[in-house]
Symmetry: D2
Subunit: 373 residues, 4 copies
Amino acid sequence: MPERILRAISTQTVDHRGPGFAEIGRMALSGMKDVFQTASQVFIYPSSGTGAWEAALVNTLSPGDKVVMFETGHFAMLWQRLATKIGLDAESIEGDWRGGADPQQIEDRLRADVNHEIRAVCVVHNETSTGSVSPIADIRKAIDAASHPALLIVDSISGLASLDFRFDEWGVDVCVAGSQKGLMLPPGLSFNAVSAKALERNASARHPRSYWDWQEMIGPNANGYFPYTPATNLLYGLNEAIAMLKEEGFQNVFDRHARHGRATRAAVKAWGLETLCARQGQESGVLTAVMMPEGHSADAFRAVALKHYNISFGNGLSKVADRVFRVGHLGDFNDLMLMATLSGVEMALKKAGVPHEKGGAAAALDHLVEQEA
Amino acid sequence: MPERILRAISTQTVDHRGPGFAEIGRMALSGMKDVFQTASQVFIYPSSGTGAWEAALVNTLSPGDKVVMFETGHFAMLWQRLATKIGLDAESIEGDWRGGADPQQIEDRLRADVNHEIRAVCVVHNETSTGSVSPIADIRKAIDAASHPALLIVDSISGLASLDFRFDEWGVDVCVAGSQKGLMLPPGLSFNAVSAKALERNASARHPRSYWDWQEMIGPNANGYFPYTPATNLLYGLNEAIAMLKEEGFQNVFDRHARHGRATRAAVKAWGLETLCARQGQESGVLTAVMMPEGHSADAFRAVALKHYNISFGNGLSKVADRVFRVGHLGDFNDLMLMATLSGVEMALKKAGVPHEKGGAAAALDHLVEQEA
Amino acid sequence: MPERILRAISTQTVDHRGPGFAEIGRMALSGMKDVFQTASQVFIYPSSGTGAWEAALVNTLSPGDKVVMFETGHFAMLWQRLATKIGLDAESIEGDWRGGADPQQIEDRLRADVNHEIRAVCVVHNETSTGSVSPIADIRKAIDAASHPALLIVDSISGLASLDFRFDEWGVDVCVAGSQKGLMLPPGLSFNAVSAKALERNASARHPRSYWDWQEMIGPNANGYFPYTPATNLLYGLNEAIAMLKEEGFQNVFDRHARHGRATRAAVKAWGLETLCARQGQESGVLTAVMMPEGHSADAFRAVALKHYNISFGNGLSKVADRVFRVGHLGDFNDLMLMATLSGVEMALKKAGVPHEKGGAAAALDHLVEQEA
Amino acid sequence: MPERILRAISTQTVDHRGPGFAEIGRMALSGMKDVFQTASQVFIYPSSGTGAWEAALVNTLSPGDKVVMFETGHFAMLWQRLATKIGLDAESIEGDWRGGADPQQIEDRLRADVNHEIRAVCVVHNETSTGSVSPIADIRKAIDAASHPALLIVDSISGLASLDFRFDEWGVDVCVAGSQKGLMLPPGLSFNAVSAKALERNASARHPRSYWDWQEMIGPNANGYFPYTPATNLLYGLNEAIAMLKEEGFQNVFDRHARHGRATRAAVKAWGLETLCARQGQESGVLTAVMMPEGHSADAFRAVALKHYNISFGNGLSKVADRVFRVGHLGDFNDLMLMATLSGVEMALKKAGVPHEKGGAAAALDHLVEQEA
């Protein structure tokens, strides 16, 4: 987390009903529209991303409504579980965890739904458990090709502000996001970007709601205020984060993540290892999940890395538990930090006795110099 | 907000799934039990207090359930509005805003409910809009006297950690609290303390819920973890706040607030003004709402205080808009800060041409010296 | 110390030889010229004010040189001790500690020095031990009236940036200052403002010197650098402090201190007590030294104030030890902080059983409202 | 600079004459004895290291005294310049800048000084301009072998707290140090560790002094106080730094630096380049100066590294200007930070078109894994 943001969040809390607050609120709400690349509406919750998952559903659906959710990985499965829990009929399209959501499978499913019982298609943009990215624009096209009225609801909790995300251009209806990934903040803020169509559905959606209710937000938000106490200090941090992103330039931020993803894959390839994401063009610039050689424990490797080199890699979740480790390259990250990270992988592979070819870090180094930003 | 807490929340965020987090979570959960004076269960939400209002209801009630809520003031009314909005049958017992909830009226209402349709009685402990405190122990006795099975759900968002609150001894079933008052934190955390009886009701309560669901919390909480991403940096601040409260001693904290309340009322009396709370023994140690002389605008007075002395007083809400101003004396507050505050009131009264007797600040000064802590 | 400054000094240290440093150095050096109200030269030392006392002398004098120092109080005496220690012939003009330096006595002494053996007159601008201010402009006139070539060296360690100080207009030759009073910084930086005449004397002054040597500074300073490692983080704070002073406006800062001094004296008078400074027009806006009633210990009173009200008053030094206590009203200070301070005095007087009239704080309150800034 | 230390220095400043200060002062003074590995006396100045250079000389010598200083590099030359400037007869023993001070040359010079006119031998422990370390224990033996009474005065400004430094065991008389290197603080504090013999010399040393005078310090220091205002906030940081060093363990700190020095030299060798330090066993664990291939500008290379990889290498000073670049590996530094740094060197060498063999970073990686701490 950048020091600059930690400082911002430790500023004295102002009264969220006082005149000084409006500008803070307006900056945050308007800045987030730029981040989502939307001219539509953005709502900010004092909650973690899980709350925004729930908010997206309860604002647009009624008890018992059918939704289709693509199983890109662990987080897609958790979202489906939540949907079921709050009383929706949440159907899953099975995936192999080695790529993003498949537009063709979605189109096929929607075409089969001749009565238009499916009210929403839910897709994870950047699946944190696998390092794969779903082709959101193509999924919108698939829905349209099926001439289906279902809403397109996207989770970009770990993608937004690191990967290009074009809410308006791609025709997304609701996007769910959180503060603690690309926005480089501590957890505690979450977001719903909302299209005109989704707002329209909101009027007839009968799921009981109050805290998450978009309608309560619209009025006060117009003047920079919130219907209840916001997480003021995290909003300070949010405004600072948006300023940092704009200083670097959104496109530069996206390019940097993409380049670091490529350099990381160059290292993985040089080590003779395989990434979990197997679909070309769907590899994430946010993180790379690396598969362990057969017979080697990813968690044992991770423990060595933590103990000897004080570096913490993400663990494999549910279906790929102990079989992959995940290398993050997101947020406030530069070439030397990537080299430190990949050197850490190589040192730990060697230390842990995991079979690999030498030279992964060196391959990444070459890639970075040759493909200068 | 104490500098010590602002520093705590700006510490680097640790991984909320990593081994280092458990101790942070355990400290927070166990420390909050001490704050609530309970051996039962406490849940922590990454949300503002409004979320914990909702959580208390959706975890214990089913759609259409009847609840009785006492109108102590503005915040009690907002809570009733929320209850109605999420589909409960929320009945209000009217109040005059000049004191806490009346146990007798509650007992009468419950006795009349011969079929036990009322599922919960909701009461605000410290009503921030009026500066009155409800006698929670007496309300429990009233419920028991009526032999009624309704749950006692209490909002102590602005009372907890400033006023004595004995969850177990008083027989409260759910207590709703927030981070930004007596706990001296920025907003963004909220709490439910929960009795065994309330947990039992939870099993049969059919309101759809996921984010707020207590059942999801119990398992991970046992080891210091949370079912979804917590607001880690605010938890750092929470642990620091609890440490500060324990260093001073809870009883000393309560005594300090009570003494500051008395000194403030001595000042108000000396000015020849009246407090909004008219019931002796129910005046709050957290804040004092002062009634303006007839024909004088409280908001005009507040504007003078802000402009000339850079001090911000709370405004009158809904029924008492522009008729009262509210003086806070809570959190990390000492005798000299109270004298600064009351001097600010007196200077602004004089500056604004509000009719008053001189000597209020001096009366408070005398009270503070004579009634040494 | 303002939070804003504490934050500034905790920013990451940059390389003091790198390109990014020049702007920091230039801002500090140029900003300090504005603070001293001079177009001449200012030097900044990584040292406490005592170092700048020494620097002023070793840069302008030679071993055995005679200097005349006016005994305004404890700090003037300490400076004389230092001058003697480094080998100067430091003569003192005796004072009664109840006002600033007396221009007439200085003029008389200089007229008597027909051979012009006196090389410098040293005067303390704001004597922190007594709360008196010396009339610097009049002292320059006195030197000129005596047609004497002695340099005028002034210590404004505790006056600068709180009281008006006009280096050029008043004809000061060297002014000594420090970071920890009106500049609101932690200790660790000190200053010499230097006239053209003083720089000329520097060429022939033979006291050995290196660290303090102005000549070493001039070259690197011209580009924003220093001849040796500066206290970089305190320079961050200095630039922030100067920005704060400019935002408020220097004249407003001076007026505020003067008004707070008057309100404090109104309180002292109402209590029936006496200030140590007895010369009208020479009372300090930075601090007020209050004399205890005969037979009462100032230190016992100070102990009561610290114990019961957590407020720390300055002690009486050397000649007035235990006979006065000193009330500071400097730096980042507003009306309410003054009221808190004076309420603290009155509470402690009462608590400690010191004979006094009631109503000092109230008198100050009246003064502040009537003489609005 | 570690965040932990930046936080410490931004704590509110306490009164350096108040009761709360003594513990801070005592901790700092006693902790520094542990750092110097001495049971003798340590003095702390609010000044940069240059001030402590001056203090060491003015406290032990008289005007015109002869001292011998070994030219290990740029900083040794600066120190000699200072000595000359303050009136000492400072003789230099010429060096080639490719290693530490030579005990034999020192012994020869002292033996030749049959009248014992030389009052002190001055040596730089870790020469920052070259990355060489002088064998201090051997130099003490050389002085003793010559039966010469000269004091041994050592500058360990950039070595202390990174390299083993045994003040008592090695028989050093005065050691000069600063805050901004191994102690990981911002600049602004400096130190003199002082032997009994040096204190004895102090009694007869006639150089005029006040700010630097050890005698003034001894009394107040005994109780944790200082004779004049200390740089309080930097003392907070100093105590934090000492705590960090003790948590890691001094020996572990020294081993870490040594290991990082070896890994860096493995990289330099693999690149086919040469280090400036050519004397085996005298290479510094604090920094490594690398010689550029003939015909290539070190400063041009440094500019490429800064521009493309945002990493700043030290420049060559005076005799080796533009011919070397310096790689720091000191302070709060771990294996991954070293890998980031060395990857940065290799990327910049490639980017700048400097002839070199590939694989330096990889060689360092191997060294680090094989020679685990």
